[in-house]
Subunit: 256 residues, 4 copies
C-alpha cells in the first residue's frame, strides 16, 4: 500500500500569543514539527505541544530556526556553518529533552522558514545542519525540500532523509517552488490541492507549467498558518485515504 | 582521603562579549557549570566551553537561568513552578546536546544567579527544578546552597545532591550567606578564603560571627567573575591539596 | 458635563503574532496605550498602531514594560530604580519617535502589567517612572492605579496624573482591586460592568464588599485581551454617553 | 583651517558584559555613535554613555542596528524597507530620549555593522534609513561610507550627510574598502594609519593599489573594538593636529 506522511509546523505560539490550530491539525497529520524557541515556542509551549502530539500518536520532530522572534524566523541571516551547526544542535537538544521527559523520543528534524530555504540551496549550511542532526542522533530523519541540497547533505552524512512536497504550492518546470510573489503560486482551492497531494503520493508526479514533473516525496507539508489549516489537513487526509494512500510517519529507509 | 569539588560558572560570554578566564580557571577546578543561553552562553560559546572542559577532564554541568540576558540572570522574576520546570528542562537539554555531540555527558545541574537564590528558599521552585533534572536524567547531581531548599528538594525526589559552600563569602550564625550589602560579606584576602575552604573541606566547619558553624559541603564555588578568578582558583586548589584534600568532581552518594 | 476617559492597551501584536482587536476598539476609546517593544509591539506594529490611533483621533500614550517578551511583561522582576528609570525613558522615546514621525505627539504614559502593579505599591519604582516621564516631557500625563503610589509619585514631581479605575473588576473595601485569584474578581456581565463605569464616572463611587467606596478616577480601562473587547468597549461608551457622560481623553488638570 | 571629525562607536557594553574603552576614547574623538539596544547598549549603558559624551563635549549620534544581540549586529538579515524604517526610527527615538533627558540633543545617525554595509550598497535600504532620520529630525547629519548609497540617499531627501573614511583600512582602486578577508586589509601599524588619516583629511587622497585615490571625507572612524583603541585614537588626534588639522564634530554643510 502506498504511504505518505503529512507534516505540520506546530507549537508556534509564544508566551501570551497563540498561533495555529494545533489541537485540530494534530487529528489529521502524522508528523509534527515543533518550534524550539528561536522563532516561536517558549519552553512551556514546547512541553504542551509535545504532550498533545504524544496523545494523538503523531511523530515529533524538531523545527529549529534562525534566532529571530520578531521576524518569525522568516528573514534570511548571514550565518556561518559553525553558527548553524551550534544553533541547530542547541534547539534539537532542547526539544529532545521535552520529548524525553514526556516519555517520547524525537523522530525527525525539519528546519524552519529562512533556515529551510537557505539549506535547500546552500550546500555548506545544509552540511552543517546535517552534521548537527547526526551528532545528536544518527537515527533521526532529516526533512528538506524534495530534491534540494538539504536531503543531499543528509544522505552524504549517512542520515535517513525525507523529501518534502507541497500540496498547496505550484511548482516550476525545474522542480523548484514557484515564488510566492508570483500570481497563482499558492493553491487556494482545496480540491486542487488535494488532487496535487494524491498525484505526488500515488504517482510521484506534479503538474508544473505545461509539463508533468517527476516529484518523489516522502512527506507533504500542511501549512499551519494558512486559513482553516485544520480543515485543509482533514481534507488532505481524507482525500489521500479515499485514494488508497495511507498516512503514516515517514520512516528511515521507507522511500521507494 | 578527604575529597572536595571545586566548581566554577563558565561559558558566560555571549556573542561578541567575553567574560571570565575560562581557559585558565579550567586548569584548577574539577567541575564547570556551563551557561545555557538564558543569562549568557550563545550556542557556539556553549560548544567551545564544553570542548575546553573535556580537554581538561573537568566535569560538565548545566547552569540554567531565568530568561534575562540584560540582567545576566541576577534579577529575581516571579515565575511559576510550571515555567521553572519547562525552562530548566529546556536548558539542560540544550547543553546535554552539546556535551553528547562532543562525546561527553552531563554530570550535574546548578541553577544560576537569581534562580539559585530563589530555589534556595522557595520549596515550590526547588521542587520544580529537581523534577526537571530528574525528568531529564535521574543520575545527574543537583547542586544547591548547602542546607537549603534546593538540595532538600533533590533528595525528596531521589536525586544525588551536592551541597555548595563558598570560600570567599562570610556566613551568618544561622548558616545563611551574609548579604553582599553588608560590609565584609566578601572575603577579599585570598589566604583567608583558602583557609575557609580548607576548614569546610577537612572539618566541615566555617567561622560565623562569634561561633564556629557546622557546614557540610560537597563542592566549593569559585566565582568566575571575581578579579583574578584564575589565580584565586589556583590558590584554592593548591591550598586544599597541601592540606591533604583531593579536588575531584562531586559524585553521587559521595557525601559523608 | 461630566467627562471620563476610556483607555485601552494596544499594539500588543508582535511580529507574526497578533493580539487584540485594535481597529475595532479604537472606535470606542479615547486613549490608546501603545506597547513599546519590551513586552509586545515590534517597531512596525508601533507605527501601525500610532497611525490607526491618529486616524481615529484617539490620544496616544506610551505603555512601557519590564523586558519580558516570553512573559508578556506580566512577571514581576526585581529591577532597581535606576534600571526602571532607564527602561521607561527608552521606551517612551521610541514610541514618541513613531508619533512624531506620523505628525502626532504623546499624550500620556501608562506602565504595563507587572511594572504597573509594582509601581502602584512601591514608592521607589513609582518615583523612578515619574522621573523618567518628567525628564522626557513634563507635559505628559502619568496614568496609574487610582489612589496608588504611582499617581502620588507623579504629583510629587509636578506631573499631571490620571487615576485609573476598572469597569470589569471588583474592588476590596480598602479600594484595592480584588485579586484575580478570588472568585468573582472579574465582572463578566457587561451590564454590571457598564453600571460600575457609570457609577465611577458620574458619582465617583464603586460598590465594594458591603459598602460603597469613594473612587475618584479620570480614566477607565478597557482590557484589550478580554473576550469581545471591542463589543465591551462599545457597550461601555454607549452606556456612559446615555448617562450624560462624555468620553474624552484625560487632560492635564481636568480632575474634579 | 582644515577640519575633520573623528568618530567612534560607543556604549557597546550590554548588561554585565563590557566592551570598549569608552572613557579613554572619549578624550580624543569628536563624535560618539551610541549603540541603541539592538546589537548592544542596554538602556542604562545608553544613559551612562550619553552622560560621558556630554561631559567630554563630544557630539552624540545614534548607532542603530539590525536586531541581533547574539551576532552583535554584524550578520546581514533580509529586512524590508518598511522594517528598516521602523527599526531605525525606534532606535533613534530611544537614544534621543536619553540625550534629551540629560540636557543634550542628537547630532548625527550612523548605522551599525551589517546595516551600515547593506545601506552602503542597497539604495532601497539607504532610502529607508534616510527617511527615518528625516522623519525624526531633518537637522540630523546622516553618516555613511564615503561615496556610497547611504550619503546619496541622505542628499536626495535633503539631509546633511557626512562621508566616512577609515584610517586603518586599505582601499581598493575603485574606492571601496578592501575585504577584511584579504591579507593586509587592516592597517595594524599606527603610524601608517595616522599618515593615511592625514592624507584623507588634508588632501582628500588615499593610497589604493598602485594609484592614489580621491577620497573626500568628513569623518574618520576609530574602531572601538580594535586593540588599544584609546591609544590609537590618541595617536590619530595628535597626528592630525600636528599636521594642522583640527578635530571637530562634522557639521551640516561643512563639506568642501
Amino acid at each position: 500500500m502506498t504511504t505518505i506522511d503529512l507534516n505540520c509546523d506546530m507549537g508556534e505560539s509564544f508566551g501570551a500569543w497563540t498561533m495555529g490550530q494545533d489541537a485540530e491539525v494534530l487529528r489529521y497529520v502524522s508528523s509534527a514539527n515543533v518550534a524550539c524557541g528561536f522563532h516561536a515556542g517558549d519552553p512551556q509551549t514546547m512541553q504542551r505541544t509535545v504532550a498533545a502530539a504524544i496523545e494523538r500518536g503523531v511523530a515529533i520532530g524538531a523545527h529549529p530556526s534562525l534566532p529571530d522572534l520578531a521576524g518569525f524566523g522568516r528573514r534570511e541571516m548571514r550565518v556561518s556553518a559553525a553558527e548553524t551547526h551550534a544553533l541547530t544542535l542547541y534547539q534539537i537538544g532542547a526539544l529532545a529533552a521535552m520529548a524525553h521527559a514526556a516519555g517520547a523520543r524525537l523522530h525527525h528534524v525539519k528546519p524552519h522558514g529562512a533556515l529551510y530555504n537557505m539549506a535547500a540551496r546552500d550546500r555548506t549550511l545544509a552540511d552543517a545542519i546535517a552534521a548537527a542532526v547526526r551528532d545528536f542522533d544518527a537515527s533521526l530523519i532529516l526533512v528538506g525540500l524534495a530534491g534540494s541540497e538539504l536531503p543531499r547533505a543528509g544522505e552524504r552524512i549517512g542520515l535517513a532523509v525525507a523529501h518534502e512536497a507541497f500540496a498547496d504550492r505550484r511548482y516550476e518546470a525545474d522542480g523548484s517552488l514557484m515564488s510566492r510573489n508570483k500570481e497563482g503560486a499558492v493553491i487556494d482551492d482545496v480540491d486542487v490541492a488535494v488532487a496535487q497531494a494524491i498525484g505526488i503520493a500515488s504517482r510521484g508526479e506534479v503538474a508544473a507549467a505545461a509539463a508533468t514533473l517527476r516529484l518523489s516525496a516522502d512527506t507533504i507539508c500542511v501549512h499551519g498558518d494558512r486559513p482553516n489549516a485544520a480543515t485543509f489537513a482533514q481534507r488532505l487526509r481524507e482525500g489521500l485515504e479515499r485514494s488508497g494512500i495511507a498516512v503514516a510517519p515517514m520512516a528511515a529507509g521507507s522511500r521507494a
